[in-house]
């Protein structure tokens, strides 16, 4: 077990956003969290990353309680909807950012970043500034920036929602490949049912602050509240 979330509760202005959320994620597993906009998916990820403080509950990584730790001490990387590349740094420096923070030797940084650029197909763009590359390439750089520090857990907050259909599909394929190559453990938040099924090894559904964890993808698809049945029926009847 890599991560264990116990009884997380969060209210904004007295209104509960997350109520008694508990879940477990195994090593090298991607857990999909499906839910409508504004249901608290991002808040849950921000609490795990340490950006938001929960009202109650605890988070354990490899059995260690990290609830009181600052975000920079947790080694959990959060990927936003937008790539949010640092505009003052080029592609190479954006990817190298996490390594520079750790004060790793220059030679090692150059070597590791070069390898990462190659694996993400960005070698030709290493000297470009963020405004000179496409949306898909930006998201790849954001992946590289997160993966290079080898975090035990990556939190993906609808990372492909701003991309066009084709690029989105390419990024989904890339993520699946990268997840295997880099042994990623991740929480993947999305409001797109197809994406949730494609990306996740296991499925969960967040509604009205409550998280439902499914034992299998079939259970998820059979459940009326997820909307999977409606989606299948739509495509069958078209």
């Amino acid at each position: 077990m890599l991560i264990e979330i116990n009884h997380i509760t969060k209210c904004f202005s007295g209104k509960p956003v997350l109520s008694d959320i508990s879940l477990k994620v195994d090593m090298y597993e991607t857990l999909s969290i499906l839910g409508k906009s504004g249901c608290g998916k991002s808040t849950l990820l921000k609490i795990i990353a340490g950006i938001e403080k929960p009202d109650e509950g605890s988070i354990l990584v490899k059995g260690i309680d990290i609830s009181k730790q600052e975000p920079h001490e947790r080694n959990i990387v959060y990927l936003f909807q937008e790539a949010l590349l640092f505009p003052n740094l080029n592609v190479f420096e954006n990817i190298a950012f996490g390594l520079r923070i750790k004060k790793i030797e220059k030679k090692v940084i150059t070597q590791q970043v070069s390898v990462m650029l190659e694996r993400l197909g960005l070698t030709d763009h290493s000297k470009k500034m963020p405004h000179q590359i496409s949306g898909g390439q930006k998201q790849r750089v954001a992946f590289g920036r997160a993966l290079i520090i080898n975090p035990p857990l990556i939190l993906l907050d609808e990372p492909f929602s701003n991309l066009d259909t084709e690029t989105r599909s390419q990024m989904q394929d890339l993520y699946k490949k990268v997840a295997i190559d880099f042994h990623i453990t991740a929480l993947f938040v999305t409001h797109d049912i197809k994406e949730a099924l494609l990306m996740g090894d296991r499925m969960t559904y967040l509604q009205d602050g409550k998280l439902k964890v499914y034992d299998s993808k079939q259970d998820f698809m059979n459940d009326e509240i997820t909307g999977a049945k409606k989606e299948i029926s739509f495509w069958n009847n078209i």
């Binding site: 950006i51 920079h72 937008e82 949010l84 950012f97 923070i101």
Partner: protein, 257 residues
Amino acid sequence: MRIKFSLLFHAFMIVICIIPILILFALSFSKNWAFPAILADHFSPIAWQDLFSGGNDIRHSLLLSLLIALIVACTATTIGFFISKTIAYHNFRRQLLFLAYLPFVLSPVILALCLKFYFIKLSLAGTVSGVMIAQLIVAIPYSIIFFSGFWNQRVKAFADIVNTLGGTNMLALTKVLIPLAKPLLLICFFQCFLISWFEYGLTSVIGYGKIQTLPIKVYQFLIEANIFYAALSCCLLIMPPVLLLWINKSIFLKRLY
């Protein structure tokens, strides 16, 4: 046709900006100019020579104005940057930002008269530090309002990314937030510098006439009917805005062509 109009417009704007400055310069080099003569009897660089040799106290006022404006601009920009961040992410953002507008409700002279009592009690009236504090009462809220638009959820997300990548808040500030805000920091510094540089009301009331900054000097020369020294002071006074115009013009022309 459009290019011709644009050129004519630029020429007109340049004439409007340059002619008053030329007149000021001519006046600062003049001697014995009596009505109704259009030009002075003769021209002499004596006022400028006095400035460089220290023969008059304009040099002292120039250096004092520079010192006050630089300190006020640096302090207001720095403090405003950080306070605006706190306000931007605070639950009472609107109410706190409203407080920043209060110094601008009153004219500087009336504001100075309201504050004079406290400055006398604190032995700050008639001192350079007192004038600086008085100017900061206007410059810091200006800086807060100026930066309030910078802090948003996107900027916060940048800082959050640095944090989750293992960087401290200080690192997020130095490596990402300050580089992001750099152009705004420069503009705010210059604006605060100009606020302090041209400040008359607060300086004259809180400074008690003892703190002779350049705007105070200009008025003093005008009251004394010493138009040649007043022109010289004005020439020095308009140098920063002229520099700003020149920089803006360069950027503007670069964008245009």
